[in-house]
Symmetry: C2
Subunit: 231 residues, 2 copies
């Protein structure tokens, strides 16, 4: 279980390092610190991303299953993570994001882009945890709803913070989306409707958790954190 969390964090970090590259988003700062290609160089950033992605699968395949069901569960976990991170998931989202530069997206396309770019890996994180925790079919379905909603809410709040967040608290510049003419929820819906939308998404996520007892409280806390966060 710890291995899966490590692997997912590695895949997330690889995607940030590659997304920051000059050929992609060309970002110099990430969480107030120089990005990998600024602190080192581009070749190091490309190879570090590649290494983290590969190491994630080394870790995931290093478990020693107890029996055939356990082994099947692990193969399923590896497959879910590979699909979420791959050309049908996160990478497709990044391609859509790059293609959208200078071509403003509608609400539906924006939602699809985020569902792929950040949503897919969030969903995989939650679903693989549920599989390894022996969740049943109905539980996994509810957690998928939870994941989809908090994934999108996270992105909507990200867009809102880029408009009215405090750059000191956030450790990065604000107003960059507007400067780059990026399609965002505030640019399409306006700031108030965006906040309302984020709250509704989090409520949907919390509702999906009604199916669970207080063991799901950490997931509830994550949902609340997503709308309340200041950075």
């Amino acid at each position: 279980m710890v291995g899966v969390a490590c692997a997912l964090e590695m895949i997330h970090t690889y995607s940030l390092i590659h997304d920051d590259l000059p050929a992609m988003d060309n970002d110099d700062l990430r969480r107030g610190k120089p990005t990998c290609h600024i602190a080192f160089d581009e070749a190091t950033a490309i190879l570090t991303g590649d290494a983290l992605l590969t190491l994630a699968f080394e870790i995931l395949s290093s478990i020693e299953p107890n029996d055939i069901n356990d082994a099947l569960k692990w193969l399923r976990v590896i497959k879910i993570i590979a699909i979420a991170a791959g050309y049908k998931g996160m990478i497709k989202g990044q391609i859509k994001d790059i293609a959208s530069e200078g071509n403003p997206l509608g609400l539906e396309d924006l939602e699809q882009m985020h569902a792929l770019k950040t949503g897919a890996l969030i969903e995989a994180s939650i679903i693989t945890g549920a599989i390894l925790g022996n969740g049943n079919f109905e539980q996994i379905e509810q957690l998928k709803i939870y994941a989809k909603n908090i994934g999108l809410a996270f992105q909507v709040v990200d867009d809102i913070l880029n408009v009215e967040g405090d750059p000191v608290v956030m450790g990065k510049d604000v107003g960059t989306d507007q400067a780059r003419k990026k399609s965002t929820y505030p640019s399409i819906l306006g700031i108030e409707k965006s906040k309302e939308f984020a709250k509704n998404l989090v409520n949907n996520a919390l509702q999906a958790l009604d199916y669970f007892d207080n063991k799901a409280d950490p997931l509830r806390a994550i949902a609340h954190y997503i709308v309340d966060r200041k950075k």
Copy 2:
């Protein structure tokens, strides 16, 4: 088995696409054709490499094992490939290769760099085939010797062809290693000793196959091809 071959080819292709990038080897041509970032753009080349690497693990984890031994074998195959492609294998080799620019390598360092950069994945290809074909311990050990020797022989012949190959047959320029002041077998050993070295390596590889009957003939043919090839 077909899935493993596909996955390995994808990992090989991803490594070529990323190695060709401007921040790495900055190559415009590969096998006589424009490299990925020339034909498309850098962002596409980075993402295509990432997608191929991830897809390899999706394919490897998509098999449906028959029993626990079969499942354990597949998890072992995924792990071997991840290690060979990762920071302890291929990526370490690429880092050593980049670091060697302007710092000529000795024979031992050159051999280690190639053992990692190209040897690790060749060895993984052969070992995973042996594991899935139910090879016993001794067979796998002999195949490791075979793999190490043909892997290095391939690289030595590559260096020789860069000196005296026919650019029309090869579909790429020759003399580029010398122009870039790269450490190669001909630059350290001279061309005749390099040819002798390649032949010895192939003989070692063939000797390791003495342990096998004529089912290993395709591996023997590969060993002969490596020294005889003109491109």
